[in-house]
Symmetry: C2
């Protein structure tokens, strides 16, 4: 039995009979338009490090007040986060504020860049703006994530406005990770504005294109954009040109794709949430994304037992700064969710 | 007139009438097999962070003594270098030895990782092993690049063996950037071995797939491989799955592709080399890759003048640690090389 110490163990893993509530891996296919560009594709040269012009131009149509020059196309939101964090470190940054629970990559990215993560605790999944403000004053930037992976919560507009104002008043960067912005069950998305706002997004969750790795930075800060391009010029050069062309096709596909998928996510959310409540687990109803946190003692052991004995992947809450919790992803079809919940039930009964 | 301060300005730029001796951008297409995978491609999920199994398995057949577990597939050689350098920094590294002239990314990657580059001067493009050894003892790792971009030189086997031995005796990492290993005009490639050897390679130059961004790390060091995967798990996740599938097709294509291309590169090398000699520029005959350094005073001004007044892209030697030199790439067809050389001639005459 191999010890599992990071999500890297599970990502891309496919085994017969395995059900995965692990990575945020949608099982729904991308818009069919995405594959239509392939049969006659023949480009092969380097693309622009900043990203292909057609993709940036069409992206800018989705962001009022933006132009193609405000975007950098990246290897998924992951590289967009990494470039933003490295930029802050390169300009003397020492501390980055992160809300806890967090997407597991945030503290590691901050540490890799030679900075220190500072944490503010979410209260029932929501940002405590008093604590946030106090700690933000001591930091060189902050990362927020709404809808939140792993908490499944959406921050209220009043909170988003308050953070936007703090960024302006304190003249500090806020990285807003919005990869789940099109998967919100309760209210509309909030569009943060400001010279020190770095919005990070991706085609992975909105268009179910996780494997292609196309994300982006959107910011009105010209210095950030220029210097992040200079960093990317040495760390990876252009994002794969064919993946960008597919992302462009996704953007041009009928928008009903997003709405139809949201309906499916919501149905699955209900199956997962009600199932976990039926099992007597303490949790809250997700407002966005496709994750749910449920309380369970000793989550590291639970994760190992469920994988090795019950062929079910769940993620250890500790990876997300959520001790005594398990993260369940419900990015699989309802039948699999029901079967997976049966395995959880069997496991819980075996422990009685 | 915009000041040009980095190769990022030129990469991917296409303008009517422009001839580029700039980036190492082959104009020859990849093997046709590469595009045959596209019409029926339909995968979309996350791939393994380490890289797709079929690609790693077939790569391992090209490296005697290796297995698929010794490879990480990356976003081009750039990310392979970045991960290797970050790994060394993460484990306490402070200084990295680099030979000068160097590929422009090396010192920047070292600095981004919070370390300091230390330089050893190439002598007529060759490593001075005495100076290398003395400085390597004070460093935590070294980067070597043979064939060398920008010098076009290939290091002798005796030098490679000496560096291999130093790595073993001093127990220090050597990153061997081998992206031009299949473009050598004078002698066979040397395969470095050892627990502290990190070999970096790519599909970009061997198979003319620069825009797709598929490279790799090959190392027998299990700790490095595992930890570099953990870093990649937060900085970019898997390399684009479709680009990996195309790289796999390239690997399976008939090997005569590489030989035929080498013949073309050699012809172009001769046209470029002889043309620069005819113009009276001081240079040496390249032994590998598709770059040549020629002496010219004030290369920053020369680069600006040639681009803005003569529609010719050349790179400032200062970017590569080669002051008073211009780097010419000859990865374009012979007719364009001749036309470009005419523009250089016209420029030189205008300066008399």
């Amino acid at each position: 039995m191999q010890q599992i110490t990071s999500p890297a163990f599970f990502i891309g893993r496919e085994e017969k009979g395995l059900i995965s509530f692990g990575s945020g891996q949608p099982d729904l296919p991308p818009p069919k338009e995405v594959f239509k560009v392939l049969p006659h594709y023949h480009a092969f040269r380097y693309g622009l490090v900043q990203g292909q012009i057609n993709l940036r131009e069409d992206l800018s149509k989705e962001y009022p007040g933006s132009t193609k020059d405000d975007f950098i196309i990246t290897n998924g939101a992951s590289e967009a986060l990494d470039l933003s964090i490295r930029y802050i470190a390169k300009h003397g940054g020492k501390k980055i504020l992160i809300h806890r629970p967090y997407y597991y990559a945030y503290p590691k990215l901050v540490e890799l860049a030679g900075m220190k993560p500072v944490f503010t605790e979410l209260v029932a999944g929501k940002i405590d703006i008093g604590d946030f403000e106090e700690k933000f004053k001591q930091c060189d930037g902050a990362i927020i994530n709404s809808p939140c992976n792993p908490a499944g919560t959406v921050q209220d507009h009043s909170i988003m406005r308050a953070i936007e104002k703090l960024s302006r008043d304190l003249n500090k960067f806020v990285i807003s990770d919005e990869v789940y912005k099109d998967i919100i069950y309760v209210k509309n998305k909030y569009q943060m504005k400001g010279q020190k706002i770095i919005r990070v997004d991706s085609f992975s969750k909105t268009y179910d294109m996780t494997g292609y790795r196309v994300g982006y930075i959107y910011s009105k800060n010209k210095e950030l954009i220029q210097d992040a391009i200079n960093i990317k010029n040495v760390t990876s050069l252009n994002t794969s040109i064919i993946a960008q062309q597919m992302a462009h096709a996704a953007l041009k596909a009928p928008k009903k794709y997003i709405k139809e998928h949201l309906k499916i996510w919501k149905e699955r959310r209900d199956v997962m949430y009600e199932g976990l409540v039926d099992l007597g687990l303490e949790t809250w109803k997700p407002e966005g994304a496709f994750y749910i946190l449920a309380s369970m003692k000793n989550p590291t052991k639970v994760m190992h037992d469920l994988y090795y004995k019950h062929k079910l992947v769940v993620y250890d809450g500790n990876w997300f700064g959520a001790p005594d919790k398990i993260r369940f992803s419900y990015a699989v079809d309802s039948e699999k969710i029901k079967e997976g919940l049966k395995r959880v039930k069997k496991y819980l009964e075996s422990k009685k």
